[in-house]
Structure formats: structure tokens, C-alpha cells
Subunit: 255 residues, 2 copies
């Protein structure tokens, strides 16, 4: 408005498109992220104050706030009350690996089948009893599954479920429950939370035979345990696969 005179100062960066389907706060966040990526603002640098951004981009304080919050959530900037907003340096510790790769195996058009190798009632040994918070010797359901991808054995799953006489388990259920559904987010609504641990391992003879892999072979081991809404364990188990099947990859910093 007030730059009628001295026209040459036209900025190239205050182009917020009000007509766009892309929200203003996201456009603003993108604009700032872009400038960081281009090196306009370097790690450690202070960003323009929120008031300044309000004037520069002609948006309301709340909108600027939201854009900054977005960048802060993404670890791109950090804010300090009373001091300012600063560009963050790359921090390895915040790198996060996810299991979206595995999800693809189930949800997409990949030919993934789950074979039930074994499913029977056994008595819990010490380890299983501890994990499922039952007494040693109590009956639990033991299942072994083989997940095949494109006709090749890929994942070998051994799991233990608490045996609930009031809710008998149908065998056909076992084949799909708890794995495909959990990865797709259609998990049983009985499950409130779970814990996952990933660890490197060396495949043993049985695992190698089932997965048709020659020894010795590095393996990735995924242990999982799920709890219901009473915080009681529901199931515990281990998924094992060849190291190459479960490579965790992530990126830090800006693209």
C-alpha cells in the first residue's frame, strides 16, 4: 500500500494467493521454508518477528502464528519467548523411522498372503506369562503365521494371545486379525495401545527354513505387545524377516 513511491522494492516473496485451495498459513510456512532451503536464512539465524511477517505478508497475527507453529512442529525452526524465532540445525536425534514401508505390503496392490502355519492352545511359559501378565501354565493361544509377498516367504510371525473363554477365536479370524488390520489402521477397536521394539538378530535354523533363507543371515526382529482399554495385555509376539526386508529409512532437514 505505502510503497507507491520507490517502486523498485517490489518483493518476490509476499505472493500469498488468497484464491488458492492451499491455506494461507501453509503458503506462508512454505515460503519461509523455501527461503531457509535457499540459504536466505541459515541455521542459527533469527527469522523476522511475527509482527514483521504480519506486515510483510498482510495476514493476521493468528495466521502467522499458525505458520510458525507448523514449522516448529516440523523441527525446522525453534521459538523462544521474548527472544525470537530461529532456524534449527539438523539434529540426528529427532530422526524418526516409520513402518509405512510395511503398510504398503498389505494395503497396496502387492500380492500379499497370510498363511496360518499353526494355531493352538498351549500353556504359557515364563516369558510369555510375564509379557501377557498371566500365570505361568495358564492357557494361551499360540499362532504361527507366514506372510508371503509376491509368492515369496517374507515375514514369519509367532504370537501369543490371552485366551478369553467368553470370546472364542474363530480360526479364519486369526488369519487376518491383528496384522493386516493393525497396519491399515482398521485394528480391533479393543486395542488401546501397543509397544514395538525393533532389534537386529541372526536368523536361527527354524526361521531360516520357514523363510527359505540360507544361513547365516542377518535378520530384523520386531517385537510387539498390545493392550486393551483395561490396560491388560491382549497379545504379544515377534515378527522376523531378512534384514533386507525391513530397512528403515528417513530424512532429516529440508528437501
Amino acid at each position: 500500500m505505502d510503497n507507491a513511491k520507490g517502486g523498485s522494492a517490489a518483493q518476490t516473496n509476499d505472493h500469498i494467493d488468497r484464491q488458492s485451495a492451499h491455506p494461507v498459513y501453509a503458503q506462508l510456512a512454505d515460503a519461509i521454508r523455501q527461503q531457509i532451503s535457499e540459504g536466505v536464512y541459515r541455521p542459527g539465524d533469527q527469522l523476522p518477528s511475527e509482527a514483521m511477517l504480519v506486515r510483510t505478508y498482510h495476514v493476521s497475527p493468528m495466521t502467522v502464528r499458525r505458520a510458525i507453529n507448523l514449522l516448529a512442529d516440523q523441527e525446522v525452526v525453534s521459538t523462544a519467548q521474548g527472544r525470537g524465532t530461529f532456524v534449527k540445525q539438523v539434529e540426528l536425534a529427532t530422526a524418526a523411522f516409520d513402518l509405512r514401508g510395511i503398510k504398503g505390503l498389505f494395503s497396496s496392490d502387492t500380492a500379499t498372503t497370510i498363511k496360518l502355519l499353526d494355531g493352538r492352545i498351549i500353556r504359557a511359559d515364563g516369558r510369555t506369562a510375564r509379557k501377557l501378565q498371566v500365570s505361568q501354565g495358564d492357557t494361551v493361544i499360540y499362532i504361527r503365521r507366514l506372510i508371503e509377498v509376491d509368492g515369496e516367504p517374507a515375514f514369519y510371525h509367532r504370537g501369543y494371545l490371552v485366551y478369553d473363554p467368553t470370546r472364542p477365536v474363530v480360526e479364519s479370524e486369526l488369519e487376518v486379525t491383528e496384522l493386516r488390520c493393525l497396519f491399515e489402521g482398521r485394528g480391533s477397536s479393543l486395542i488401546k495401545r501397543g509397544e514395538l521394539t525393533v532389534e537386529a538378530s541372526i536368523m536361527n535354523e527354524e526361521e531360516a527354513r520357514i523363510l527359505k533363507i540360507s544361513l547365516p543371515s542377518p535378520a530384523m526382529l520386531l517385537e510387539h505387545i498390545f493392550y486393551d482399554f483395561n490396560d491388560r495385555p491382549v497379545s504379544w509376539g515377534i515378527i522376523i524377516c531378512h534384514a533386507k526386508r525391513l530397512r528403515l529409512h528417513t530424512e532429516v532437514g529440508l528437501k
Copy 2:
């Protein structure tokens, strides 16, 4: 206000404390999360509408919005324009493992030392040349480090840095740069982004000797590559450790 009559209907959940240092939006998010955790709202259930929450908790629409956004970011609920807000089911694929455990080794009071085993200029082999985007045979800096925790060998790091004649590397720098700093978030401000890959492996003879581990041994392998603000590779390397040193753990769902 309008519940002066029929007093018995006093809710136990509309207790937003305006005096608290805990922001209202966070208190509201906590209250909703708590009710989900208690089973008041089950996975798949629809939450009260935002307008309803405004009336129930006597806060402004923006504040409700922010609370819901928080829960949506945390994968606790999902929103659908025109339909409503719904409680999410546990989804394994969104589980994210981070490296905060490693950070603790460096930043805390743990006795962690970094020993430079080797640091010299070599000619890049095919693999290194490809990773660092230089020509095969070009000079690169090769370093080997041993990270000891509480006097015990813990991580073995082999890295390659592009050799920049304009910015000679001091040996003492090598001992700390790029590792401690990167984990603590005080990484060189020259680095814009990086890629990390975690993979299971079996320790080879050299690695086992340096880490003082008997073979055979499962190992976790962390490959990393960093880029500068010109999107040119700066360094590439591999950190290897015993499987038990790098166990990735995470939780899904609600506590």
C-alpha cells in the same frame, strides 16, 4: 450459565482452569484424550462437534480447533470435513522410532569418549565416489572412529568426507565434528539435510575386533549421508554397533 436449575447435572469434565500455566487448548486436548483413554469414546466413535465443545467448555471456536488439531497431529483422532471428528484406531504403520536413545549417550552425564582411530586422505572407490558424487579416484578424507561408553567400545564409525582444499580440516575437529554435534542439534550450519538408513547386519571380523565382541554377533548398521545448502554431499559413512546397543522402541495409541 443456564444450568442454574437441575443442579445435579454438574459435569466432572468441564473443568478448564483459566489460571493454570497449562494452556486452555492443551487442557481441552488432555480432557478429550483422557476420555478416549477411559473408553468414554471408543475407536471409530464420533466426538462431540466443535460447536458442542465450545458450549460445553466455554471456550472460543479457535481454541477448540487448536485442541482438535493437536489430537489430529498426534494421530489420536481424524477429522472429516462435513462429517465430524472420529477416534482413530491404533495404526502400526504410523509407529515412529527415533534415535533419542543415542543422543543420551552424548549429551547426558554419561562418560562418552570419541577416539580417532584413523584419519587420512585416500582415493575414492566406486561406492564412495557414487555416494559423495565425486569421480572415482578423487581424493576424499577417510576417518575411523571408536565411540566408547563408560570405557567400553560401543560404536564403530567409518566415514568419508569430500576433500575441500579451500577449507582444510584440523585433526582435532574430526574428533568431535559431525557426531556429537549432529546428535545434539549443534550440527554444522553448513548442513541442510541428511538421509539415514538402519539395517540389521552380522558383524565382520574387523568390526568385532574393534568393538571387542565375539563372533558371530548380530549388529545394527546405521548409514548416513549429509548434504550442504547446494545439495552437494558433504559426508557419508556407517556406524555399526552390537544389536543390543541400538534397540529401537516406540509406543502406539494412548497411555
